[in-house]
């Protein structure tokens, strides 16, 4: 179908000033992504998939400015023993980064995916993104594949002794950054990847994750406390037999965040957990859009999303479980809940189940509510001041999502971030 004129011209206006970078041997994949993008067009607010989140500022040629934010707090994961890979305004910074050698993992920069010598990631770059365009189009992800200026490829071959931390900082107030990472977890291998930092005034991040049979990947992301940043993340994961993929995302502040997550369970007995906690006060719009496809038997998927919203903040959840014919004994679970701390905040939800197998157990639920007054009174009657009692109930509300993080220390780190956010909000 031909694009309508508005979409076509918006797309061409955006692309006019952009140059497809010459980074490693990804040229072919980039051109393919570009033609995918041209046939889809960039998202428009009339698109069904963008009904709840206006894509205008993500699509317009220049990003809106975003002031730098520094609250003096130590960055998240700072106390962890990890391998740091730092990008400043979208460019890898070798001085701030650690040496990229670590036993059990091979890390390269995207530019090292070179034609002259064979690189494993050559066959992956853009592949999962392309596959993830059906049945729902994700033009911003194709845009990323075409234009990403930097990124890393991570091949997990064993069990690295520490997590790999992708850190995104920004120094320019009008930076527009595209990063693209390719992750491959080999059979039976296991790793943890951490991501944090605002990256840019406008950030478009894409991560393609391929987990081979019996492999495990934990991904914990903290989208920082910057107020004015905008971010869209595109996560594509393909899971082999008996593999495990667990992802948790904390979003605190940010005027606009859209986290798209596309997971396909292709091997029997695979497990995918996708969870998130969002804390928004005031000018905050946060969108979790998740699509999980069960295409094998006895797989398990969980989606657990909690949002705490106040002073006009908006939370969005679009979550789908698609169970293909033959994906028998699927166990699918989806819950999305919001705590609205006042009458001005909004939670917009579209949970979906589409099931073509007859022997499955899938459930989904969504709720939106104020703080439990009975619980608040009970805590206060025992002497807890109202603000402490409210914080305790807020943390309790998001706990179900945070508990999806398997590692105790990482879970505590995220709880610490939540507590800091609550303190910050009180001023």
């Amino acid at each position: 179908m031909a694009l309508d004129d508005t979409k076509h011209s918006a797309t061409e206006t955006r692309l006019a000033s952009m140059v497809v970078p010459d980074v490693g041997c990804t040229a072919e994949a980039r051109q393919e992504a570009l033609s995918r993008l041209r046939s889809m067009g960039l998202p428009h607010r009339r698109d069904e998939y963008w009904k709840f989140t206006r894509p205008d500022t993500l699509v317009q040629p220049e990003p809106p400015q975003a002031a730098l934010f520094d609250d003096g707090e130590a960055p998240v994961f700072d106390s962890f023993d990890r391998l740091k890979i730092v990008f400043v305004d979208g460019l890898f910074n070798p001085d701030l980064s650690d040496d990229l050698t670590l036993e059990g993992v091979v890390i390269d920069r995207l530019e090292d995916v070179c034609c002259s010598t064979e690189h494993w990631a050559e066959d992956f770059y853009g592949t999962l993104e392309a596959a993830g365009q059906v049945p729902v189009e994700r033009p911003l992800a194709a845009l990323n594949t075409a234009y990403a200026g930097d990124g890393v490829t991570i091949r997990v071959t064993g069990r690295p002794s520490k997590p790999i931390n992708l850190i995104y900082t920004h120094e320019a107030t009008a930076s527009d950054v595209f990063l693209h990472h390719v992750v491959r977890v080999e059979e039976g291998a296991c790793a943890t990847i951490l991501e944090n930092g605002p990256a840019a005034a406008r950030f478009n991040n894409c991560m393609e994750v391929d987990v081979a049979d019996g492999g495990t990947l934990h991904l914990v992301r903290a989208q920082g406390r910057d107020h004015e940043r905008r971010a869209v993340t595109n996560l594509f994961a393909r899971l082999g037999r008996e593999s495990v993929f667990k992802c948790f995302t904390l979003t605190a502040n940010g005027v606009l965040t859209r986290n798209e997550c596309v997971v396909t369970l292709t091997g029997d007995d695979a497990v995918a957990h996708v969870a998130g906690a969002a804390m928004g006060d005031g000018d905050f719009h946060q969108d979790d859009t998740v699509f999980i496809t069960h295409d094998a038997e006895r797989c398990e998927s969980r989606q657990v999303f909690k949002k705490v919203l106040s002073n006009g903040a908006v939370g969005v959840f679009q979550g789908k479980i698609l169970v293909k014919a033959g994906a028998q004994k699927t166990d699918g679970y989806q819950i999305s809940q919001s705590m609205l701390l006042d009458g001005d905040s909004e939670f917009l939800v579209k949970p979906e189940l589409e099931i073509y197998a007859d022997d499955v157990a899938c459930s989904h639920g969504s709720t939106s509510g104020a703080i439990d007054e009975d619980a608040l009174y009970y805590l206060r009657a025992r002497g807890l001041p109202k603000d402490i009692a409210t914080d305790l109930l807020t943390l309790a509300f998001v706990a179900e999502a945070v508990e999806e993080i398997e590692d105790d220390a990482l879970r505590e780190e995220i709880n610490g971030q939540l507590a800091t956010w609550l303190d910050w909000r009180k001023g």
Partner: protein
């Protein structure tokens, strides 16, 4: 210690009076019991004293050692030494029982200008007190009241009372839903806290709780007023003849 004078209370959202002039004084070291039929206003009295929203005091006053309770927030009343054991303890998923207790103890200490209790001291004390109430480590770890049986919930109401050492304890139908053994255990917990510096107000439908927690004074409440006060024998009289008889007699 606790003084209630001519207390009139309406429901905030409806044009309905619940308490119509309650007068009551509980002295330090004494146990007072309030008995009365359903709807007489017993639980409302406990809610109004502890500061639950939804009630409007139209007349009268309530003081604890001279401090005007009705002017304070619920947490300030607690810091003044008022404690309510709830008839229906609230389940709070996600908040650990121990976290809640420790936060409560330290919040009250802070409000009184005392230092926070160290984690080690707190743990030692809570374990001792939990043991006497037969509250095991698992119950302490679980979320507040979630999945607790009726008996467990009521024992779990007495534990904070023991930890917070309030001046004035109100027990709102603590016996509801308890079997005899559970009731004995709860009563033992309460009796262990009886002290000449501490007052108790025990609200109950039935005389049986008063077999275990022996009151000094028994009040009968009906239609928002205390219609008769007396010694422990009054509870027995109610048990034998019912409230209707008594109401007729007073009228």
């Amino acid at each position: 210690m606790l003084e209630i004078k001519n207390l009139h209370v309406d429901l905030e959202d409806e044009d309905k009076s619940i308490l119509k002039g309650v007068d009551l004084t509980v002295e330090a070291g004494k146990v007072h019991a309030i008995m009365g039929p359903n709807g007489s206003g017993k639980s409302t009295l406990s809610y109004v004293l502890s500061g639950r929203a939804g009630y409007e005091v139209t007349q009268g006053l309530a003081t604890l050692d001279g401090v005007d309770l009705l002017a304070l927030e619920p947490e300030e009343r607690a810091a003044e030494g008022l404690f309510l054991a709830f008839q229906y303890p609230v389940e709070i998923p996600g908040v650990g029982n121990m976290t809640f207790l420790r936060t409560a103890v330290n919040a009250q200490r802070k409000a009184r200008g005392q230092e926070e209790m160290s984690a080690a001291d707190f743990l030692k004390e809570v374990r001792e007190k939990a043991e006497t109430l037969k509250i095991d480590a698992d119950m302490l770890k679980r979320p507040v009241n979630v999945g607790f049986s009726g008996g467990e919930k009521q024992r779990n109401e007495i534990l904070p009372m023991a930890m917070l050492a309030p001046k004035m304890c109100i027990l709102d139908e603590t016996d509801s839903g308890l079997d005899v053994d559970a009731m004995k255990l709860v009563a033992e917990g309460v009796n262990a806290l009886r002290d000449e510096g501490r007052g108790f107000l025990v609200i109950t439908h039935y005389q049986r709780l008063l077999d275990h927690i022996k009151p000094d004074v028994v009040h009968i409440m009906s239609e928002g007023r205390i219609i008769k006060s007396g010694g422990p024998e009054l509870a027995l009289e109610v048990e034998k003849n019912g409230y209707e008889n008594l109401k007729a007699e007073v009228a």
